[in-house]
């Protein structure tokens, strides 16, 4: 039993990473209706920017805020320059665009900062949290920040005018335009916010997985999976999905014999798919009804 609780705790700790990324995934899905494959790379690039700032002697929190601003502006710029012209193109063409963006960012980061692994500081320290060996203060801090973000997003979408406008633009663009909402800019705003949330995720994840151009590839997959599991339309679901994903992954690794590190992902994905077969819109997602 103790092994079980320990593994669940450790799972929650890794789950916080996935939850953070899943939030960013849901954010962009709400704004543009598809999954952005380059999301992880955008987060990685922002994290590198913050690292570079710190190398130049900027204190952590200043670098943090500057990076958020950079990520927000960068997300908007990418939407305006690269994806707005593709707004009328088929969805699959847009997906190809994401893959292209992925290649561009990954390759440029590799050229600018090379592929060696770098240490990344944490603002929370890395001593054991409340005497537990399984969760460090950094991981506890990460869980805290994720929950805080979730609450902030909830208030943003429920109680601000612009949050309401974004929801309207996402659910019924045509009608939203008729009541005077600039839906095109709402999409750009969604990109900016997703990029900023991704940057937060990146900066929190970097101390755990270390900083390098490929750091987000694995994390993004888990983030996608978590978001899909929780239901792509629900930020709350994404966070729950992230934690579940971490726990799944750890328990699979512990209790199923012969599962190496490499089979963990496929098995976790298989579990998610079995959940989806029962609940096709994810655990907390809304069912979408189609008109024939």
């Amino acid at each position: 039993m103790e092994l079980f609780t320990n593994q669940v705790l450790a799972g929650i700790a890794t789950g916080a990473i996935y939850a953070c990324m899943a939030l960013a995934v849901v954010m962009i899905y709400q704004a543009i209706d598809h999954l952005n494959f380059a999301q992880g790379e955008m987060a990685m690039f922002s994290t590198f920017i913050s690292w570079q700032l710190m190398q130049w002697g900027v204190p952590y929190w200043v670098a943090f805020v500057l990076t958020l601003a950079f990520a927000f502006a960068g997300g908007i710029a990418i939407e305006r320059i690269l994806f707005k012209p593709l707004a009328k193109a088929p969805i699959l063409t847009n997906v190809a665009g994401f893959i292209a963006l992925f290649a561009i960012i990954n390759s440029s980061a590799g050229l600018i900062w090379d592929f060696t692994i770098k240490q990344y500081p944490t603002p929370f320290g890395s001593s054991p949290f409340l005497g537990s060996q399984l969760i460090s203060t950094h991981q506890a801090g990460m869980i805290g920040v994720t929950l805080l973000l979730l609450v902030a997003l909830y208030f943003f979408f429920q109680y601000t005018r612009i949050g309401l406008a974004m929801r309207a633009a996402a659910s019924l663009p045509e009608s939203a335009r008729l009541v005077g909402i600039n839906t095109s800019w709402m999409i750009a705003l969604g990109w900016g916010m997703a990029s900023a949330i991704g940057a937060i995720a990146g900066m929190l994840i970097a101390p755990v997985v270390f900083l390098e151009p490929n750091m987000m590839v694995g994390v993004l997959l888990y983030g996608f999976a978590a978001a899909v599991l929780g239901g792509l339309s629900s930020p709350f679901g994404a966070v729950v999905g992230g934690f579940l994903m971490g726990i799944f992954e750890n328990l699979v690794g512990t209790y199923i014999p012969g599962v190496g590190n490499e089979l963990k992902l496929p098995i976790a994905l298989a579990l998610i798919i079995s959940v989806l077969v029962v609940k096709p819109a994810g655990l907390f997602g809304r069912h979408i009804v189609k008109r024939v």
Binding site: P90, S107, L276, R291
Partner: protein
């Protein structure tokens, strides 16, 4: 807002509705292309012949994805898994059972058809991103499954298997590469004709009805479950044959050649060629074979970025892929004829 009120606007399908006539080339054009493919190897070096063989093989794999996505509207990131199964089937049959290489192709096709058909069953309830995730899981699992210990006796584990390249039969005066090219060309043509006819048949119409509107299709009496899994099966079968040809041409199979990157390349090939336009599959295949090399040639350190930029250029210029160029060409020649 309650769930029932949320209605997705019409005309917002994931995959465009391509009418079946628009899916193929005209007779004259087809004959010219086939003639060019037949004559070309005589004039070029062995290495280029080899690359043309690879092009046909990847073209087949992209074609298979095109039938699934462009035909029946289902999305798959798991094509690399079917490709791997086909390649390994051929490699194992040739090396352990001494089966003739030509005979392994139909076997690989049937094995993959069965595999795809079975995989299609649980995938039935999923669509869009959910289906993408499920197929993605299959693609990430496949290299790991091939490395499993109890399969190692057959698959050779991480090391993979070496396959012998066949000689030209009946003492024909041809290099191995050239013979393999003609062999691949024959198989490709056969499958292409099969695919075109499939999409024009009752089953093809059922695929397209499902693609355009699943609910409407089922109320018209189309057995949605059967045809969706059938599309998966056919697509997997053709991909498997492509994989089998790949194993023979490359003379080597190893788990790490069949990662998710292969599936992503095939997807890009489909988009560049034009979703739902079968001849475009070969244009897309040319893109995924040659453009990474060109990118590497332009800049070694930034090859990924150059590839990304080139891809962006292509999708800006022709968001509907090579199909758009073909339509443009048709309109132009139509105008010329009138004047």
């Amino acid at each position: 807002m309650s769930a029932a009120e949320e209605v997705v606007a019409e005309g917002h399908e994931t995959v465009e509705a391509v009418p079946k006539r628009a899916m193929t080339l005209g007779t004259t054009t087809s004959l010219v292309v086939v003639a060019a493919l037949l004559i070309a190897p005589v004039f070029v070096k062995n290495f280029i012949i080899f690359q043309m063989t690879m092009l046909l093989m990847y073209g087949l794999a992209v074609l298979a994805l095109n039938i699934l996505t462009g035909g029946s509207g289902q999305f798959s990131l798991g094509q690399s898994a079917f490709y791997a199964v086909g390649a390994y089937t051929t490699a194992v049959l040739m090396e352990y059972f001494n089966v003739n290489y030509a005979l392994t192709l139909p076997i690989a096709g049937v094995v993959c058809f069965g595999f795809g058909f079975l995989f299609g069953q649980p995938a039935l309830r999923l669509s869009g991103v959910y289906l993408a995730l499920a197929t993605f899981a299959l693609a990430t699992a496949m290299p790991q499954l091939l490395k499993l210990n109890f399969l190692e006796h057959w698959t050779g584990g991480v090391q993979g298997l070496v396959v012998t390249k066949p000689d030209a039969p009946f003492g024909l005066p041809m290099s191995q590469d050239m013979w393999l090219y003609y062999f691949t060309l024959a198989v490709t043509l056969a499958i292409y004709v099969f695919s075109v006819n499939l999409l024009r048949s009752r089953s093809g119409r059922a695929f397209m009805a499902i693609r355009d509107n699943e609910i409407a299709a089922s109320s018209m009496g189309v057995n949605v479950a059967l045809y969706k899994t059938l599309a998966f099966g056919v697509s997997a079968g053709i991909t498997g044959i492509a994989g089998a040809l790949g194993a023979i041409a490359v003379q080597f199979v190893a788990p790490d050649s069949f990662t998710i990157n292969l599936a992503i390349s095939l997807f890009l090939g489909m988009v560049v060629g034009g979703v739902g336009w079968l001849p475009g599959s070969f244009v897309g295949a040319a893109f995924i074979i040659f453009v990474p090399n060109i990118a590497e040639g332009i800049s070694k350190g930034l090859s990924g970025a150059v590839f990304g930029v080139l891809l962006f250029l292509v999708i800006y210029l022709v968001p509907h892929g090579a199909r758009q160029l073909a339509i443009l060409g048709q309109q132009l020649s139509g105008k010329l004829r009138k004047t």
